[in-house]
């Protein structure tokens, strides 16, 4: 006899009205009610004036500080409008800005491809992004091959921020993997060298490393040879962050069960084959959330280059706020709000992606 299809009914959906919800979640006890009132007061005090200041009372048009002095209440958006070119590209020649746009477009397309679920050929895109893209970007941004040369001291704004962040990310990941493997190596000399390298960079602040790159590196170079100032900063950022990346990757490696290595060895794979084919693909996947957190850290830390004289996004805003032509009480607020919004959007989307990956990865374990 064929079994009859069993009728299953979903549990009844619990529906409560908004009033009931409020009572349960916000006003269940007198203490809870007091907390709710305090929270509402904080939100009201923070959000309403900020919103009014940024949008309702703001000045939207004008070409000097006079426009913003007249009203003297809200944000001074003409300041941003007036300087948007510098804020985005620094002193990159206006006629050549399409090159920066093209580079960023290629980067954005690659990243979208990698993060969109269900896209094919992700490994290939990742490899292209890590090998071919940097070369294209280098030629596009600096010039050569018929393109006009744009020296790096003219770069600035968001462009410079992205260049430093992406280079830091692209260089520190492979370096960090090597260091993490070195720290877990059986060879004592390799292990000690890796530990010393990692702990040194992790023990000093990035500011001192940048100082070192801008004051000390020239002394180490042979006479007559000078490295580009931006190149020095890039090397400093990459070395510094490779140590943090190494610790993150080590966390992933430690989470791998020993059986994986033993099985690979039993199959006759050597050290590099075991790691390249078996261990690293799994360990790196486990480490993705923390790797992305490190990326966020690198992105935020790019602002530090303004201390050694670069005009990145924040440096450009900072330079603008001290310009007498735009000196109003609200200029600094407006500038930081704009810069903050850009940084926040980048960092927040990265952290959302990392949370998403965390869920996807743990879905396999929840099975």
């Amino acid at each position: 006899m064929a079994p009859t299809a069993r009728q299953t009914t979903r549990p009844p959906v619990e529906r409560i009205g908004p009033i009931e919800w409020l009572r349960e979640n916000l006003f269940s006890t007198p203490f809870n009610a007091a907390l709710s009132v305090i929270a509402m007061a904080i939100i009201y005090i923070l959000v309403v004036p900020t919103f009014r200041w940024a949008f309702i009372d703001a000045v939207w048009a004008g070409d000097s500080r006079d426009a913003c002095l007249a009203v003297n209440t809200g944000a001074c958006w003409p300041f941003i409008e007036n300087r948007i070119g510098q804020i985005l590209y620094g002193f990159y020649d206006e006629a050549e800005r399409w090159r920066a746009n093209l580079t960023l477009f290629l980067l954005a397309a690659g990243i979208l491809w990698l993060t969109m679920p269900g896209m094919r050929g992700k490994p290939l895109v990742a490899v292209l992004l890590l090998t071919v893209f940097p070369l294209i970007a280098y030629v596009l941004l600096t010039g050569g091959f018929g393109l006009e040369i744009v020296p790096t001291y003219r770069w600035g704004g968001l462009l410079l921020t992205l260049v430093i962040a992406v280079t830091g990310i692209v260089l520190s990941l492979p370096l960090g993997i090597l260091l993490a493997l070195g720290r877990r190596s059986d060879l004592p000399a390799v292990r000690i060298a890796s530990v010393l390298f990692i702990e040194f960079w992790r023990g000093v602040p990035l500011v001192t490393v940048l100082f070192m790159a801008s004051y000390m590196l020239p002394l180490f170079l042979p006479q007559g040879m000078s490295a580009d100032k931006l190149l020095r900063a890039l090397i400093a950022v990459a070395l510094f962050n490779s140590a943090y990346m190494a610790e993150v990757v080590r966390g992933g490696l430690q989470a791998m069960p020993k059986g994986q290595t033993e099985a690979a060895t039993a199959l006759g794979l050597g050290y590099w084959q075991t790691h390249a084919l078996i261990i690293l693909p799994q360990a790196l996947r486990l480490a993705i959330p923390n790797i992305v957190s490190t990326f966020i850290g690198i992105f935020k830390d790019t602002t530090l280059v303004s201390i050694i004289g670069f005009f990145d996004l924040l440096g450009m805003i900072q330079a603008g706020t001290s310009d007498a032509h735009w000196s109003t009480p609200s200029t600094a607020f407006t500038g930081y709000l704009f810069a903050g919004a850009i940084f926040w959007i980048f960092c927040f989307s990265m952290s959302r992606y990392s949370r998403h990956m965390e869920r996807v990865l743990s879905a396999g374990e929840r099975r």
Binding site: N25, L26, S28, N32, L35, S36, A39, M40, I42, I43, D186, L187, P188, A189, V190, A193, F200, R202, G203, V204, P205, L206, V207, T208, F211, M212, Y215, M216, L219, F220, P222, Q223, I296, K300, D301, T302, T303, L304, S306, I307, L314, Q318, T321, P329, A332, F333, Y336, A339, G340, F343, W344, C347, F348, S351
Partner: protein
Amino acid sequence: MAQAIARTTWWRSRRLRGLLFQGALIAGITLAVVGLVEHVLAEGGASGFGFLNNTAGFDIVQHLIPYSEQSTYGRVLLVGLLNTVLVAVLGIFFATILGFIIGIGQLSSNWLIARLCVAYVEVLRNLPLLLQIFFWYFAVLRTLPGPRNSLNPFDAVFINNRGVYLPRPEAAPEFIWVVAAFALGLLGTIWLRLQARDRRERTGEHSDIGLATFALLVLPALVASAITSFPLTFSVPVLDGFNFVGGVVVIPELVALVTALSAYTATYIAEAVRAGIAGVPSGQREAALALGLSRGQMLRLVVIPQAMRQIVPPLTSQYLNLTKNSSLAVAIAYPDLVSIFAGTTLNQSGHEIEVIAITMGVYLTLSLLTSGVMNLYNARIALTER
């Protein structure tokens, strides 16, 4: 057959290859270091630490130890180090309090409070720290009114664009008796606690010593100050002409730095606290309640001790991060180690290598010390496996 497996050709031996690889690594590092040192010496880039005894010749706006323009570069190093330690200690103090409040708030059953705390973390941790320091310093503190129109939130506290003016405590010589009385009270509470613990371990009875502890801590000091006719007085800041005299001034650079550092680091501490508390299995709470513990006892005796085990390691690294991040002081010219030593001293004396080496050495030592102390604490509260 067995021999063939045991004896591999010599160039395929793991041991030998390992030795060769390590030898090459050591040789490479040694060559690089020797080459660098020779090159630097040949260029005359390093000339020893003698310059630390030279006169600095510049003034420092905030010094915790006596300092003048005639002081040496060595003194500058010390002043900068103390200013860094001051920022770090203040920052750690406020960040810990704020972080624990926000972290626990994220788990609140009150929907609004939980959302508010989550929003705090999401907003502040995704903004660069330097931007936050700039915001507090240039956009908030620098646009405050001048001394004549100071904000006056409490009696004897004045806030203006030159800093925060607070009353300064001034102790008469008799104050030593008050300190002695307080120390005596403190010893008393320790003895009381030991007694209570002893009694609990012997008989299993709990003794309530909360009120006694409070009395022992407050009463002796209070009585002693009454007898010595209150030797602790406060010097109150008073507006005199264009500026304040008396009291103690906290420079705006310090206020901005501590505010930004604590607000930023608190987001990371909050995440650690949230994860730590959420990481205690719910079975532990249920078991505690089933044993008849009250909700307060459950939190204090069961949940928090276990959560601390998970909170301490990330907390340590956040304290270290805060200390290292305090070097961003250089961007707003707060006179910390990097600002006045790796900045002003380096530019004036030109001893790049020595100055940077000392600065990095100091941070490395601070990092190692902090992690050492925290590791000790961690070992004390770690899970003892039987």
